[in-house]
Symmetry: C2
Subunit: 329 residues, 2 copies
DNA sequence: CAACGATGTGTAATCGATTACACATCTTCT
DNA sequence: AGAAGATGTGTAATCGATTACACATCGTTG
């Protein structure tokens, strides 16, 4: 590999001058400039980032800690983050916790040792250990999707969105509304969305029937199973609508209903959250909430950038959303 | 930031000993070992990767060059790659060319300057400049999805898969088969799949009607428009089946057909390639080809790893696929 | 014309790790 | 007992960049 020393020698200048040329700071004569330029293009020389980072403490890399890589939400968010990082010439280092909370800490450390300039955390479980770890980290960290005490975060309006969706159902005169959620260990998706469901039911004086509530694990299949459980557990009294906390589970739920000969939305209405691409194309098309994930990615990227620059940024923000009314309700 | 020197001092040993402890090579007494361990856990010290890489020329990072980040195929592939890299403690640096061929070269250089230990290229256009660049690169490069001369690559069996699909259509007695493709500048998706279409048509003695062929840009909407063009260009003679080179475009195409009151597959059959998740859940469910993207990601990851270790690896491979027969044909 | 700022360049220290080499001590074997 | 090997540790060079500092030259200004 050619180094800055090689270039300097070939161009007949000192490496200081080459460095100045590369970083366009300090003075470099037209003459030297041309010779260096020439040599560099001939050799295809690229400065070593390791050496540079060692000296400057800047790597030009930010880390993203994802719960799961191959998910529609993740890829939209990453795409948004990438969009703003690209403008700043920053690269993205991806890590994937596979929903294992210990890994979040592990990756936080790893990103520290790699001297990431910043970290974006899409966490699912925020424990005390995690918080301690983040506090001790000499690197700016921001969080998307869940509120993490002490650091800037951008969250989705889970409570409001879920309430709105429930209101929509209630507005269509549904009284018996079922619920398909996920484990409460996930604060945003598992806990808040369920709370909104229960609150709206109670506020409306509607009965929250335990047998109309089921839990899935985000997968389409689990939505199918959850719906099956709801329908079969109490044949005599089934809900007239079911609110699912994700589009994927809603899709599975609808599959089961269609299979069993129920008409959606006439017999049972189904609603989801997340606006997966497929939601528009399944039959009936799914009523859902768009969280603008890509824009949220851009926004959290900007927040990280601002935090890295030491700007006093608005610490806690909530991202916009919109209800998409389609045919399943 | 604490450095190895700080640790050494606090533990009362030389930094050499600390380094030996960290890398578990050379001898370190039980006593020293314990003191060092103690100090490290107290301080939360993590060795600087930049310094380490500068010395060892290994970064533990591989780069992936993607045409587009937020795509189902990409995220599946990345997930597969991640799976094998994780086992080796390797991290992934993501770059996204946004389908711009110049960026492929730019990112190749960038990954070189970041001293990536290896590169996985999911290219779309392989020009001569790109090839030259790769040859000159002192880093192992492998390609997925398109064949790149001179480097190990894993390709999808585009020709065979497309032929099989066409055979399926022909076997169902379709004589007038349309085609929705993409620009031929994309060798695999644009060129090879179309060639398979034309070859099968000709081999079967079927007429290739230009007005039954249209071109999209991978998007669902473009599939819709392409189908519209096919139907409206020649009302008197429309195809009885249409082969689409991607599931997304097939989905758009079906949307148009359903909107216009055509029955799928009775009036017009539709087939796609790629097995998007949604394909199973739209109505009618889409007949398509599964390319096992995640496994392909694992495979290309293994190939890169092997190449990095200098193993004499089987240079050109083709990944398996399977036809999924569903209701749209 | 003396002084000063702008321009252009080089010397050498530094960042935080790894590692070749040297040296000391302790075991073990013949 | 003496040699050979195993064990344990430290010294110092090195990786490839950046940058403070020093110095030289040149044009301009009062």
């Amino acid at each position: 590999m050619t180094t800055i020393n090689d270039i300097a020698q070939m161009a007949g200048v000192s490496r200081t001058t080459v460095s100045r040329f590369l970083n366009s700071n300090g003075y470099v004569s037209q003459e030297a400039r041309e010779r260096i330029e020439q040599i560099i293009s001939e050799t295809g020389y690229m400065p070593s980032q390791s050496a540079k980072s060692l000296r400057t403490k800047k790597t030009g890399v930010i880390g993203i800690i994802l719960p799961k890589i191959s998910t529609e939400t993740s890829s939209r968010v990453v795409s948004g983050i990438n969009k703003v990082m690209k403008k700043k010439g920053m690269q993205i280092l991806l890590t994937d916790t596979e929903l294992d909370p210990d890994k979040e800490i592990e990756y936080l450390r790893l990103l520290k040792s790699r001297q990431a300039d910043g970290i974006i955390l899409l966490a699912t479980n925020i424990g005390e250990r995690l918080q301690k770890e983040i506090e001790a980290l000499p690197i700016p960290v921001v969080a998307l999707g869940q509120e993490v005490p002490g650091i800037p975060s951008l969250t989705y309006a889970d409570y409001d969105a879920s309430s709105d969706m429930m209101q929509l159902l209630v507005g269509k005169d549904h009284k018996k509304i079922g619920f398909i959620g996920v484990s409460k260990t996930d604060p945003a998706v598992g806990s808040i969305r369920q709370k909104a469901y229960i609150d709206v039911m109670e506020r409306q004086g509607l009965e929250v029937n335990e047998s109309w509530m089921a839990e899935g694990d985000f997968s389409i299949e689990s939505g199918y199973e959850a719906m099956k459980q709801i329908i079969t557990s109490n044949r005599s009294e089934i809900p007239s609508a079911v609110f699912c906390v994700t589009d994927r589970m809603a899709t599975g739920a609808m599959e089961y209903l269609k299979e069993q000969g129920f008409r959606v939305p006439e017999d049972i209405a189904v609603a989801g959250i997340g606006d997966a691409v497929m939601s528009k194309y399944i039959t009936p098309s799914l009523t859902t909430v768009d969280y603008y994930n890509e824009e949220a990615g851009e926004a959290i990227g900007e927040m990280l950038l601002a935090t890295m620059e030491g700007k006093n940024y608005n610490k806690k923000m909530m991202h916009k959303y919109r209800l998409i009314k389609r045919d399943s309700v």
